[in-house]
C-alpha cells in the first residue's frame, strides 16, 4: 500500500476560498457577527474593526500559528486559540481582550523582546508599550554567541544557564553575498521565510528550520553560505520577514552608515522592465536614489513576490559615481 502524498505543509488541508460559502454566525466580544464559512477568527475580528496583533501571520502565506501573539479566548476551549489559523464555527463565543489573553500576549512579547533584537521590527515598540512589557525583568542580555555556534548546536543538549544573564539568539550577521544579509540575532522564528522560499511561493527550498528548542534556527543545509546553497536570490524571504532579520544589502549598508531614513523616502509603483510578466515594482527612493525595490502584497498574481532581476537589478539606473557599489550585473552565486 502506498501512503498518500502528505500535504506539503504541516497538518494542512487545502486553503479555502472564503466567498461563495454559507455564512456562519458567532459572537465576538459580545457582538454577533456573520462571516463566510472558512473565515478565520482573525479575519472575522478585522472585519468588525477589532485589532489583533500578529507576527507570524501574513495574508499571502498559509498560517503556521507559531508566534502565539494573536491568541484569543474561546468559550469551551481549555487553552487559548490562535485566531490567525482557527476557522470560525457557528455559535463560537470569542473574547479578544480578556486578562488571560492579554497575559499570554504580554509574555510572548516579553519573551521575544528579551531574546531577540527587535530594533528593526516595525510597530513593536507600540505593542510592547500597549501590553506593559518589561523584557528586562528576565535579566541582562547574555553576550552574543560566536559565529557558527548556534548553527552547530546539538539537539537535546545545552549548557546549564548562567544565572547572571538571560539567554538570547544574538550572533554575528551573516554577510555572504552582495544582495542581502541574514541577521539571525533578529529572527523570531516565524517560519515566514521558509514558507516563502518553499511551498507557498518560490518552491526553491533553500532554507528550513534546523535544530530544536531554543537552538532552533533558520538554516541552509549544513549551514552553508547562500552562494553554496540552492538560493536563487529572489528575495521573497526578505519581503515577508517581519523583523528585518533578512535585509537587502543596500538597506543594511545604509543603516550601518547611518544614512537610512524612511522619513525621507518616497515609494513609487512602476512595472518591472525585465520581462513580459510585468510584475509591479515599488521603488523606494531616498534623496533621488533608489534604495530598495519591493512589490505590493495586495496583488492577486504576484503577492509580493519578485525575481532576482526585479528585486535587485535596479542599480544600473543609478549614476555610477554616486553609488560605489553599482557594477555590471549583480554577481551572486
Amino acid at each position: 500500500m502506498n501512503p498518500q502524498m502528505a500535504p506539503s505543509r504541516k497538518g494542512e488541508s487545502e486553503p479555502r476560498r472564503a466567498s461563495a460559502r454559507p455564512a456562519v454566525e458567532l459572537a465576538i466580544d459580545g457582538r454577533t457577527v456573520s462571516v463566510p464559512e472558512g473565515t478565520t477568527i482573525l479575519g472575522a475580528c478585522r472585519g468588525i474593526g477589532i485589532e489583533i496583533p500578529t507576527l507570524c501571520y501574513l495574508e499571502t502565506l498559509r498560517p503556521v500559528n507559531v508566534c502565539r501573539l494573536c491568541m484569543v479566548e474561546v468559550d469551551g476551549s481549555r487553552v487559548l486559540v490562535p485566531s490567525c489559523s482557527r476557522p470560525v464555527e457557528a455559535g463560537m463565543k470569542v473574547h479578544t481582550g480578556t486578562e488571560r489573553v492579554r497575559h499570554t500576549r504580554k509574555l510572548v512579547l516579553e519573551l521575544l523582546a528579551s531574546s531577540v533584537d527587535l530594533s528593526t521590527t516595525p510597530g513593536i515598540d507600540a505593542l510592547l508599550q500597549e501590553y506593559g512589557c518589561r523584557p528586562e525583568r528576565f535579566g541582562p542580555r547574555a553576550a552574543a554567541a560566536d559565529a557558527g555556534v548556534r548553527d552547530g548546536a546539538v539537539a537535546g543538549h545545552h549548557e546549564p544557564p548562567d544565572p547572571r544573564t538571560a539567554a538570547t539568539v544574538a550572533q554575528p550577521v551573516k554577510v555572504d553575498n552582495d544582495l542581502y544579509v541574514r541577521d539571525y540575532g533578529k529572527c523570531i522564528l516565524c517560519y515566514k521565510c521558509v514558507e516563502a522560499c518553499g511551498p507557498d511561493h518560490q518552491n526553491t527550498f533553500a532554507i528550513a528550520v534546523a535544530g530544536r528548542g531554543f537552538e532552533a534556527r533558520i538554516s541552509t543545509e549544513m549551514a552553508v553560505t547562500l552562494p553554496d546553497s540552492a538560493c536563487v536570490y529572489c528575495g521573497n524571504c526578505i519581503a515577508v520577514c517581519p523583523t528585518g532579520a533578512l535585509m537587502v544589502r543596500s538597506e543594511f549598508d545604509m543603516r550601518a552608515a547611518g544614512t537610512w531614513d524612511e522619513a525621507r523616502q518616497t515609494k513609487t509603483d512602476t512595472i518591472c522592465p525585465y520581462c513580459g510578466v510585468g510584475c509591479t515594482l515599488t521603488l523606494h527612493v531616498q534623496d533621488g536614489q533608489i534604495v530598495k525595490a519591493s512589490s505590493p502584497l495586495a496583488n492577486d498574481i504576484t503577492r509580493g513576490n519578485l525575481c532576482i532581476k526585479g528585486r535587485f537589478g535596479w542599480r544600473f539606473v543609478q549614476p555610477r559615481e554616486r553609488d560605489g557599489r553599482a557594477r555590471e550585473g549583480d554577481a551572486c552565486a
Binding site: 501512503p3 502528505a6 537535546g156 528550520v209 532552533a216 541552509t220
Partner: protein, 633 residues
C-alpha cells in the same frame, strides 16, 4: 522539483547503507552514478520519488547506524534518492538527538542523567565518568563541533532511557556493518570504563529488566504473561491463551467490537485519558480512506517504562491488540512508533510480526476471513516530543517532529492527512480482554469512572522498583506498600506522580486514590503511570532543575511560549538555586508563575502546556522554595 545537491559524493559505506534500505537506484535521475551534472542542479522522478519522503527518517537512521554520523555526501545521496531538498533534510537530521550531524565516534555510551537515575546515584556516576574518562560530548567549547578520533568511544548524557527500574541506566550505540544497540541497567563506573575502552557490551536477555515484581500473581491481567511466558515464540503465546481475541473480534465484526470498547469505558493510558471507544468510533465513521492506526510506543516521559515491559515481555499481545484495533477502525495499515532507545523491544516486536504473518494473523487474509491488516515498525531518533500524537505523524511523514495545532483532530486529519487512530501500548493491551470478556465485565474492575487495571512505574527510592498492575482506585499508599515502601529506614520526602509533565505530591497525600476523577480533583494527574519516589536524602531542588532542563531540551522550538518560556523558567530556577534571585525568591516565583501560565495557555501542544506543571507543584504543593530566607547553593 528542481533540487540542488551538495557537491560531496557519498562514500561507498554510505551508498551501501542507503541502497540496502531503498534498493539500488533505478536510473541516473534517481541518484545513480551518472546523475550528478556539473552544476548539481538536477530534476528527479517527481511524484514517485516524492511519495517516498516518508522514508527520510529511516534513511537518516540507516546512515547513523552504518557510519555513526550524517555527512554531507550521505545527506546528499539520501536527498537525491528521495527527492528531498537538502535544507529540508538538514532540518530533519538536526531535530533528533540520536542523529549526529557532526562527526561522532562510532561507539557512544549514552548515560542516563535524569531524575530517577539521579535519585539513585547517577550524579555520582556521571561525575566519576567525567573525572576518569573525560568530558561528555558535545564539547561546549567547540560550540557543538566535534572534531575527534572517530574510533575512540565517547560518552554523552541522556534523558530518561525508560529503564528507571534498573538504575543507573545507559544505552550503547556502535555504528558499523553490524551495528550494536544495547540498553544496560545497573551501570557501574567499571562497566562504563570498559565500554569506553572498547570492550563488548554485556549481553542482555531482558530478564534482568523484566522487573515484574508481581510475576505469577493470578490476579494480573496486563502482566499475566510478562516474565512467565516465552516472549519469542508464538506457540507459547497461544498456549497461554493468546490469539483467541483476534478470532473472536473477527466473528463479532467492527461495530460490536467498538460497542464493547465503549461499554468498557476504557480511557487512554498515554497521558490524555481520552475515551478509547469514542476515538475508534470517530475513525471508523470517517468516509475518507485509507485509515491509519498508530501504536504509540515512544514512551519518553521521564520515569515511564511500562510499555517497555509489555513490548519486550508480551510482544505478541501488542501485535494482536493492534490487529483488533485496525480491524475495528477500518485500517489496513498500522505503524508501531517505537522509541529508539528500546532495541530489545524492536527485536521482539519484529519477531512477533514475522511469526504472526506466517501464522496468518496479519497480512492479506487474516485467519482466512478476507481481512487485511499489516504493521510497520517506525523508530524514533531521540525526541520526547515525537510521542505527542500529531508530532508522530510529522515524524513518520519524514518531517521535523513538530506538533500540529488542533483542530483538525487526528480522527479526521491525521497521518498523511487521513483519519488516524493513535493509541498507547497499554491502552491497546487492554483490548483482548475486553473482546473476550465483554466491556461490561471489564468495567466491573476499578471505579465507575476509571475502569480496569493500570500499570504504574515505580522508581526512585522504593524497595522493589518495577511495573505494578493494580485496579484503578487503589491508593497511592497501598501501591507504595506493594513496592516495599521506602527502604533503609528513610523517610519519604515526595512522590512525582505522572511524570515530568505530572506533579509532585507530599507524603501526607498517600491516601489519594489512583483514578482520573480523584487525581483531577486533587489537581494532579496519573499521566503515564509514573510513581517516582524520593526519600529525604534526595536533593529535590536538583530534581526540579533537571525537569526544567528536560523541557528546555525537548521543546520542539516551534512556538514562542514554550521555546523561550522553558529557557526563562530554567534560568529563574537556577537564579534561586544559586542564591542570586532577582528581587528575592518571592519575585522569582511570581515571574516563574507568569511564564508558566502563558506556557499553559498559549503553547501549541501538551509539552509546553505542562512544562510548568511539576515546577508549580514543587512550589505550591511541596513549598520547596521558602520565600522568607534565601536558599544558599
Amino acid at each position: 522539483m528542481d533540487i540542488r545537491l551538495p557537491e560531496a559524493e557519498p562514500s561507498d559505506e554510505e551508498r551501501i547503507a542507503i541502497d540496502a534500505l531503498l534498493g539500488p537506484p533505478e536510473s541516473a535521475w534517481d541518484g545513480g552514478s551518472r546523475g550528478r551534472s556539473r552544476d548539481s542542479h538536477v530534476s528527479y522522478g517527481g511524484r514517485a520519488a516524492r511519495e517516498r519522503r516518508h522514508l527520510l527518517l529511516p534513511a537518516l537512521q540507516a546512515l547513523q547506524a552504518r557510519v555513526g554520523w550524517i555527512s554531507e555526501g550521505g545527506l546528499g545521496y539520501v536527498c537525491a534518492r528521495l527527492s528531498v531538498p537538502p535544507a529540508d533534510a538538514w532540518g530533519v537530521a538536526t531535530f533528533y538527538a540520536l542523529l549526529a550531524t557532526e562527526p561522532r565516534p562510532r561507539r557512544v555510551v549514552h548515560v542516563c542523567d535524569d531524575i530517577a537515575c539521579r535519585a539513585r546515584g547517577a550524579r555520582a556516576l556521571t561525575a566519576a565518568i567525567e573525572s576518569e574518562c573525560g568530558a561528555p560530548l558535545p564539547h561546549a567549547e567547540n560550540g557543538g563541533h566535534i572534531a575527534l578520533d572517530r574510533e575512540r568511544p565517547a560518552w554523552m548524557r541522556s534523558p530518561c532511557l525508560g529503564l528507571c527500574d534498573a538504575v543507573p541506566a545507559a544505552l550503547v550505540t556502535e555504528a558499523g556493518t553490524s551495528p550494536i544497540e544495547r540498553q544496560l541497567g545497573n551501570v557501574t563506573i567499571g562497566l562504563v570504563r570498559s565500554l569506553l575502552a572498547g570492550a563488548a557490551p554485556p549481553k542482555t536477555d531482558g530478564a534482568a529488566e523484566a522487573m515484574v515484581p508481581q510475576r505469577g500473581d493470578p490476579a494480573l491481567r496486563l502482566l499475566a504473561r510478562a516474565g512467565s511466558v516465552d516472549p519469542t515464540r508464538l506457540d507459547a503465546y497461544r498456549a497461554a491463551g493468546g490469539g483467541k481475541a483476534l478470532a473472536r473480534a473477527l466473528e463479532l465484526g467492527p461495530e460490536r467490537v467498538i460497542a464493547e470498547v465503549v461499554e468498557s469505558k476504557l480511557v487512554g493510558r498515554g497521558g490524555a485519558a481520552f475515551p478509547t471507544g469514542r476515538k475508534w468510533d470517530a475513525v471508523r465513521r470517517q468516509p475518507a480512506t485509507p485509515h491509519y492506526l498508530i501504536c504509540n510506543a515512544d514512551e519518553s516521559e521521564p520515569g515511564t517504562f511500562k510499555d517497555r515491559v509489555l513490548l519486550t515481555h508480551d510482544p505478541f499481545a501488542v501485535v494482536e491488540s493492534m490487529a483488533i484495533a485496525g480491524f475495528a477502525t477500518g485500517c489496513e495499515k498500522g505503524y508501531l512508533y517505537l522509541r529508539a532507545e528500546y532495541p530489545l523491544a524492536h527485536e521482539r516486536i519484529g519477531n512477533a510480526l514475522s511469526q504472526m504473518r506466517r501464522a496468518g494473523m496479519l497480512g492479506e487474509n487474516i485467519l482466512g476471513r478476507g481481512v487485511r491488516f499489516d504493521i510497520e515498525i517506525r523508530r524514533g531518533a531521540g525526541a520526547y516530543i515525537c510521542g505527542e500524537e500529531t508530532a508522530i505523524f510529522e515524524s513518520i511523514e519524514g518531517k521535523r517532529g513538530e506538533p500540529r495545532n488542533k483542530p483538525p483532530y487526528p480522527v479526521q486529519h491525521g497521518l498523511f492527512g487521513k483519519p488516524t487512530v493513535v493509541n498507547n501500548v497499554e491502552t491497546l493491551a487492554n483490548i483482548p480482554r475486553i473482546v473476550l470478556e465483554g466491556g461490561a465485565a471489564f468495567a466491573r474492575t476499578g471505579t465507575a469512572q476509571s475502569t480496569g487495571t493500570r500499570l504504574f512505574c515505580l522508581s526512585g527510592n522504593v524497595a522493589r522498583p518495577g511495573v505494578y498492575e493494580v485496579a484503578c482506585g487503589t491508593t497511592l499508599g497501598a501501591l507504595l506498600e506493594l513496592a516495599g515502601g521506602v527502604p533503609n529506614g528513610r523517610r519519604l520526602a515526595a512522590i512525582l506522580l505522572g511524570g515530568a509533565a505530572g506533579a509532585f505530591v507530599r507524603p501526607d497525600e498517600l491516601g489519594l486514590r489512583l483514578t482520573h476523577e480523584d487525581t483531577r480533583a486533587a489537581g494532579v494527574t496519573l499521566g503515564s503511570g509514573v510513581v517516582m519516589v524520593f526519600d529525604e536524602t534526595v536533593d529535590l531542588h536538583d530534581a526540579v532543575l533537571r525537569i526544567a532542563a528536560f523541557f528546555r531540551d525537548e521543546s520542539c522550538g516551534q512556538c514562542v511560549p514554550c521555546r523561550v518560556g522553558t529557557v526563562r523558567q530554567e534560568e529563574a530556577l537556577h537564579r534561586i538555586a544559586g542564591g542570586c534571585a532577582r528581587g528575592g525568591v518571592a519575585a522569582e516565583l511570581a515571574l516563574i508563575d507568569e511564564i508558566g501560565v502563558a506556557m499553559r495557555d498559549g503553547s501549541i501542544c501538551g509539552l509546553g502546556q505542562t512544562a510548568y506543571a511539576a515546577v508549580e507543584s514543587a512550589v505550591k504543593r511541596l513549598r520547596l522554595f521558602p520565600t522568607a530566607e534565601r536558599k544558599k547553593s
